[in-house]
């Protein structure tokens, strides 16, 4: 128990104190204690910084796209898998679609470049059929759909696990009764399946809303350079590039702290909404 406790003390609570950086004009060789205390100046600078707001806007747009396109995808896939009766096929498909979850973003990005890049597989085919090349990689206009597609490729299968578990809990007798009353496939889906797994859907939706600003870091870090900051900057990469590329550690820490605080507020309010809706939410009270 002791090493574990020490770990949390040093790397989590120690780092919390590190957030004091947000209030100083940090000079590396002076250290935290001797750097000049500037109060909220870093936050003021942030609020007037168009690059910061650009990162906020990109983050919100990408998070919105993730919510609309990535959130329902595993549910659809889970419904498809659940409707299979042959266990061999089902197992096989499951093992295949879980796999990408375990690949790192470096590999996923490399695969997408290999497939969709200028000299990639898809453009090779396009050429063979006499069609023009499509510019997906390195094209700022295609960047946001691309990152969402990558997320779906990587995580959609893994995310079905929880939906599949929920689907298997739905009472068969309800389907039987509905079918006897003449309900077709769509009506059974709408009136039996979806209500049956509603708590899970609501829970996952809340979790997602609570982490709305967490669009992911590594994926964007790897690909920002190819499309430039205007299209590719999100909050996390903004923190990274401000801190490590420009050396403005205090300012970067302020932006990071800002994001963290908004995140806590989002989780908290999402939970409040859940409780109000009569669902359990992420934590109980």
């Amino acid at each position: 128990m002791a090493p574990g406790a020490l770990y949390f003390l040093v790397f989590h609570y120690g780092a919390l104190f590190g957030n004091a950086l947000a209030f100083v004009d940090y000079v590396p060789f002076l250290g935290l204690a001797d750097s000049a205390w500037v109060g909220l100046a870093n936050f003021q600078q942030m609020l007037g910084d168009p690059q910061f707001w650009n990162a906020v806007a990109n983050t919100i747009v990408i998070a919105g796209l993730q919510l609309v396109f990535f959130f329902p995808a595993p549910l659809a896939l889970a419904l498809l898998l659940h409707s299979l009766v042959g266990t061999t096929v089902k197992r096989f498909v499951q093992s295949v679609v879980y796999l990408p979850h375990f690949l790192s973003w470096v590999i996923v990005v490399a695969l997408f470049q290999h497939m969709l890049g200028g000299a990639g597989v898809v453009n090779g085919w396009m050429g063979e059929f006499g069609l023009g090349a499509i510019h997906v990689i390195g094209n700022p206009d295609a960047y946001k759909p691309l990152v969402v597609a990558q997320l779906i490729w990587k995580e959609c299968g893994w995310a079905t696990i929880i939906f599949l578990a929920a689907l298997s809990q739905v009472d068969d007798q309800q389907y039987e009764a509905a079918a006897l009353d003449g309900a077709g496939w769509w009506r059974r889906l709408w009136h039996v399946t979806l209500p049956g797994i509603r708590p899970v859907i609501v829970l996952l939706l809340i979790l997602r809303l609570g982490e709305f600003l967490e669009v992911g870091f590594e994926q964007f870090f790897l690909q920002r350079q190819a499309v430039g900051p205007e299209a590719g900057e999100v909050l996390d990469t903004f923190v990274y590039f401000t801190g490590f590329a420009n050396g403005e550690f205090g300012y970067a820490a302020a932006a990071g702290l800002f994001k963290g605080l908004i995140g806590v507020a989002l989780v908290y309010s999402a939970n409040r909404i859940a409780h109000r809706l009569g669902e359990q939410g992420v934590y109980r009270r």
């Binding site: 090493p3 574990g4 406790a5 770990y7 949390f8 790397f11 989590h12 609570y13 780092a15 919390l16 104190f17 590190g18 957030n19 950086l21 498809l80 299979l84 009766v85 042959g86 266990t87 096989f92 093992s95 295949v96 679609v97 879980y98 796999l99 375990f102 790192s104 973003w105 470096v106 590999i107 990005v109 490399a110 695969l111 290999h114 497939m115 000299a119 090779g124 490729w153 696990i161 929880i162 599949l164 578990a165 068969d172 389907y175 079918a179 006897l180 870091f217 590594e218 350079q225 996390d236 923190v239 590039f241 801190g243 550690f249 970067a252 820490a253 990071g256 963290g260 995140g263 806590v264």
Partner: protein, 292 residues
């Protein structure tokens, strides 16, 4: 053996079954085909790859040239060793610490257990930012040390909660009986709790191992010494466009088949252990999701 449809559902029409089959095949191909062309390209001779415009679906002349080239003691060999070492040692350390803490937190009446759990869960809600964590790593002198790839990630809260949840589901009578027989806490953990938890331990180790193996970003900010880079970081340099912040591209653009061979080597260990542990996934993920 034909599986049977539930009576109320009836057999779906041929159109629907065809649509389902097509959808499944497409989904499986979407996942496997990119991986397949990467393997094929890595095994093809450089001339074939160039002739075909940078990739092949089926290597006409098999060659392990790309592999023997990068495994010949260069950057990639060293990176694979680094990643392997970090993964093995990191996973072992993480397991010991996570099990210890999870067991302590799973027992009732441990002094300070409740507040401690809350403090830990709070870090889940409010994770340390990148810059503050960087400062801690520098202050603790972990710069340019392999420990920087392990210690900041020693315990994953999700894994901790999964294990704690599982430990709590072990009947208290078992432990009570052992205590009456004079067993101490460590004996109970070693002799009773751990043998019962093999499946969930397998899942947690897999999660840790994959996380350690895939880690690349930390090496960029914590290491000045590029010879210590793990495979993920090297892969990024090699394949996904090197010239970037981290500056001097020590690696010049390599031929496609070599690049793809690096990708294959970075994926291979995961694909190898994946089937062994796969049947435990669902159990592990769901224990955590329900208890959290």
């Amino acid at each position: 053996m034909r599986a049977t449809y539930p009576a109320w559902q009836g057999k779906p029409g041929p159109g629907l079954r065809l649509a389902k089959a097509v959808a499944l095949v497409v989904i499986v191909l979407l996942v496997l085909f990119p991986l397949w062309t990467v393997v094929a390209t890595s095994l093809a001779s450089p001339q074939d790859v160039i002739a075909n415009g940078g990739w092949v679906v089926w290597p006409e002349r098999f060659t392990f040239g790309a592999y023997s080239e990068i495994l010949d003691g260069g950057v990639v060999t060293r990176a694979l060793l680094v990643s392997g070492g970090v993964t093995v040692i990191g996973t072992a350390l993480s397991l010991v610490c996570t099990v210890g803490l999870a067991y302590a937190l799973s027992r009732p009446h441990v002094y300070g257990g409740r507040p401690m759990l809350l403090l830990i869960l709070f870090t889940f809600l409010f994770p340390p930012g990148m810059i503050p964590l960087f400062l801690v790593v520098r202050t603790t002198g972990l710069f340019d040390s392999y420990a920087a790839l392990v210690l900041p990630f020693l315990i994953n809260v999700f894994n901790l909660i999964v294990l704690r949840g599982f430990f709590q589901s072990i009947p208290a009578e078992l432990l009570e009986a052992a205590r009456i027989d004079g067993a101490g806490e460590l004996t109970m953990l070693w002799r009773i709790v751990l043998p019962l938890s093999k499946a969930v331990l397998a899942v947690v180790s897999l999660f840790y191992a994959v996380a350690y193996w895939n880690r690349f970003f930390e090496a960029i900010i914590y290491f000045n010494d590029q010879t210590k880079w793990p495979i993920g970081t090297v892969l990024r340099q090699y394949v996904t466009g090197g010239a970037d912040l981290s500056g001097d591209s020590t690696v010049t653009s390599a031929p496609q088949s070599t690049q793809m061979a690096v990708v294959v080597l970075a994926v291979a260990p995961i694909v190898c252990i994946y089937p062994l542990l796969q049947r435990y996934f669902v159990k592990g993920v769901l224990t955590g999701a329900v208890k959290a």
